[in-house]
């Protein structure tokens, strides 16, 4: 199954469950509180996901390692390499 199909399947399952409870499609006679909680769930979950995404990406950007040490080391090695190659006969 492609990822798209997996998503559509999962969304359909959740959608059916939500519809069943919110509109009492099978006439289960749920207590009113079930319907009150279920009804805004989709929007609520989207908002929660949105906040989670922002927080996660924000955290990851803030903690993205800056490899200062690696850049310095590379600079030093570039010098070393140039000198060594010149000795070995490389002509630029």
């Amino acid at each position: 199954m492609t990822k798209l199909l997996e998503w559509l399947f999962a969304v359909s399952l959740v959608g059916v469950a939500w519809g069943l409870v919110t509109f009492d499609l099978l006439d289960f006679q749920f207590p009113a509180v079930y319907r009150e909680v279920a009804w805004p769930m989709p929007v609520y979950l989207l908002v929660v996901f949105g906040c989670y995404s922002l927080a996660t990406v924000g955290y990851r950007v803030a903690t993205f390692n800056d490899c200062e040490e690696a850049a310095r080391e590379l600079q030093g090695q570039i010098q070393e390499a140039k000198e060594d190659l010149k000795k070995k006969g490389l002509k630029i």
Binding site: V57, R60, N65, C67, A71, L74, L85, G89, I92
Partner: protein
């Protein structure tokens, strides 16, 4: 430490106008492979660079030997996927290392890739900038944001089981790389992503090693709207077809 087993590592270096960087990357490869004792060769795939990259490569061949520096040039810029195919055809190693020739990928990580691969028998090792003490030098806030944002969307949509999908510093078993390249159809960043996604589909095992990516080119080549759009198009295609 000397290597007694028969493993040989072929490093593929596709080049285009890397006259200045090629000798430096080769020097570093020779240094770290020499110190580690692993058997290797460096295959330079130059796509007709007008700046004389091939001539520099020929000099390096004289210095380091034809068995260590192998030249397999092509007449013009033909793309990365075909460069890999071309390189694999001429590789005498049983492992292939792919990396950038512009010094953003440092050969010091190669022994770590090799050791990780031996440790877990992995089919491929991916260098990751996003985990452990991996990271990047030379990126501003905007670039980091785009990178992390794109990676997040990719993780949510594709759940690939690897932290760095667009990275191109990797070690593959030769037969694994062969089977993946012939199945992949995308270009650019998305090509590297597709390789990982297909690897998972085919049940290949993936190990990760944190790497530092030193971007000395970012100032000149900004990541523009076009690239972002084509990345998203590619991502959605992978989402819908894999």
């Amino acid at each position: 430490k000397t290597s007694e087993d028969s493993d040989k590592y072929s490093v593929l270096l596709p080049t285009y106008n890397e006259r200045e960087n090629l000798p430096l990357i080769v020097w570093l490869l020779v240094k770290y492979f020499g110190e580690s004792g692993y058997n290797y060769e460096i295959i330079v795939i130059d796509d007709g660079s007008p700046d004389g990259t091939l001539q520099i490569a020929e000099q390096l061949q004289k210095i380091y030997g034809h068995d260590k520096i192998v030249l397999r040039p092509r007449p013009k810029k033909l793309g990365l996927g075909t460069a890999y195919i071309h390189g694999i055809k001429h590789a005498t190693g049983n492992f292939i290392i792919i990396m950038d020739a512009d010094l953003s990928h440092h050969p010091k990580f190669i022994p770590q890739f090799i050791e990780k691969q031996k440790e877990g028998g992995y089919d491929l090792i991916s260098g990751t900038r996003y985990r452990g003490d991996g990271g990047v030098y030379g990126w501003d806030l905007r670039r980091k944001l785009i990178s992390r944002g794109a990676n997040f969307i990719t993780q949510v949509l594709l759940r690939p089981g690897a932290s760095d999908l667009t990275g191109s510093f990797r070690l593959y078993k030769k037969n694994v790389l062969e089977s993946l390249v012939e199945r992949c159809v995308s270009k650019g960043y998305v090509f590297q992503m597709e390789m990982i996604v297909r690897a998972r589909q085919l049940g290949y095992t993936i190990g990760e090693v944190p790497i530092s990516f030193v971007d000395r080119v970012y100032g000149e080549s900004k990541l523009g709207g076009n690239e972002i759009v084509s990345f998203l198009k590619g991502l959605l295609t992978l989402f819908a077809t894999t």
